[in-house]
């Protein structure tokens, strides 16, 4: 992965989408945080003009402490010609968990978005078949959210104070 390629890509994104925040983490991966209004245009631009033709992964994440952006949808896309990976993030507030679907750009997004909906309750607008995929149809909550703790809350033998924290 050459630095000039990354720079070309980031400057192209910066000029077209000035609202995106581009950072490079210490592991060499470029992270782009953008709004849900621009995500489809951004990915379309990446796919059609910059050669990012492969959608590696979509997943959700829940950060209940960050106010008004409790949820995050994380996309990993890959330019197979230049071998560059990008991570795109869209932050969403609990009150409004809608984001446009990516199925029209990448058919592979279909089940990935269903999985994200299943576990986090994020609504992908325009998705052809937004149903639960791994969990039961009649489940009424989204289990990967942080409010569903796995540990029994009443347990006292694992308190942080026992471990010097």
């Amino acid at each position: 992965m050459e630095n000039s390629t990354i720079q070309d890509i980031t400057s192209s994104i910066e000029s077209k989408f000035p609202n995106c925040v581009i950072t490079t983490d210490s592991y060499g991966m470029s992270n782009i945080v953008c709004s849900r209004e621009s995500i489809i245009d951004l990915v379309g631009h990446l796919k059609h003009d910059l050669g990012f033709g492969f959608l590696t992964d979509i997943c959700g994440a829940h950060y209940p402490l960050s106010e008004n952006q409790e949820f995050q949808v994380v996309y990993h896309i890959h330019n197979l010609y230049k071998n560059v990976r990008l991570r795109l993030k869209v932050n969403l507030a609990t009150a409004d968990l809608a984001i446009p679907t990516m199925v029209n750009l990448f058919p592979a997004a279909n089940w990935m978005e269903r999985e994200t909906f299943d576990f986090y309750g994020i609504i992908f607008e325009g998705h052809p078949d937004l149903r639960r995929i791994l969990n039961m149809e009649d489940m009424d909550y989204h289990p990967l959210r942080k409010e569903y703790a796995l540990e029994d809350e009443t347990r006292s033998d694992k308190k942080d104070s026992f471990f010097g924290r």
Binding site: Y27, F54, T56, H62, N83, A108, N135, L150, F163
Partner: protein, 406 residues
Amino acid sequence: MSELKINQNGQLTSLDTVDGEIATLNLGPTHPATHGIFQNILKVDGERIISAEPTVGYIHRAFEKLAERRPYQQVTPITDRLNYCSSPINNMGWHMTVEKLIGAEIPKRVDYMRVIVMELARIADHLVCNSVIGVDTGALTGFTYVFQEREKIYDLFEEICGARLTTNVGRIGGFDRDFSPVFFQKLDKFLKEFHIIFDDFTNLLERNRIFMDRVIGAGPITGERALSYGFTGPNLRAAGVDYDIRVMNPYCSYQDFDFDVPIGKDGDTYDRFLVRQEEIRQSLRIIHQAKDNLPAGNYHGDVPSFFLPPKEEVYRSMEALIYHFKITMGETPIPAGEVYHSVEGANGELGYYLVSDGGRTPYRLHFRRPCFIYYQAYPEMIKGSVLSDAILTMSSMNVIAGELDA
């Protein structure tokens, strides 16, 4: 074969249907031909498939949620149960993800040892897949041949780590112990004898007219569609796209080895079969190179906060005892950050997206499971084909229930 026409009531209007109506067929959830728990609701006209609707999740075990309360080394047994035909690859992928997060330096010897184990696992996985394609065409003999060899690979795993199927092999930072001399003896014996049985298997199927007539043209997909559906691994390469993470983003010193990446042309069952056959041969090449050039050195890196100190130290020195306790309780410091690491699993790109907040467990761990992503192309691949081709397509895609459902 003329185009099928379906009216608003879901009935066929074309005159050359078998009896003018569509039947609904439940293929699965438990069916001897699906090799796992998958349900497909098929709409069939006679034997021709008009549409398919897969249902997944029958063995969903919430691994991503479980991982959020387990210390890092306790996540490894979870990864065993993703693609259980090649658990060591999953284990190694997870170890490397954590090593990437903490920035650990891993000795060359560990890389080579890992390569040996991973390529053995790849052979075992491909043997299962290819021999099962044979079984589904009615050729049981090849299956009985190579399953003997798969047993020998499991014997090798047993020699390394004591387990056979769900191996939990290796540790964050390297291996828990060095390869034993007995392992090398067994490996030499395996490498010497494997090709005899494998050649027999190849002769039974690869140019067998009956087999070829059955599998050529079954369940094809173009390279372009395969990419847009997120195919990776042998299934993508069979469609003519040479994307192999071992070459593209070499991890574990794969750049040191000389091997070819086989690709197919039509993306049908026969191409997938051939690609896997050739990958088995290439894996053998890699194992030979790794074994012959195995560097001297330590079998683990210097990762004191994750790699348990030797037992005799624990009984004698205070520091070792402290580390032993801290690691076992998952109380070692870890940087906050997020990493994505992927390895070339037997089925394709096996990715780990790990978010750490510095706590004792992963804050968020997402597995990119290749099966889950490419299985959604299945309805498209079998549309218009006959039922027996659909069975072949599924077994040649090597959909593993554990990886599909996580």
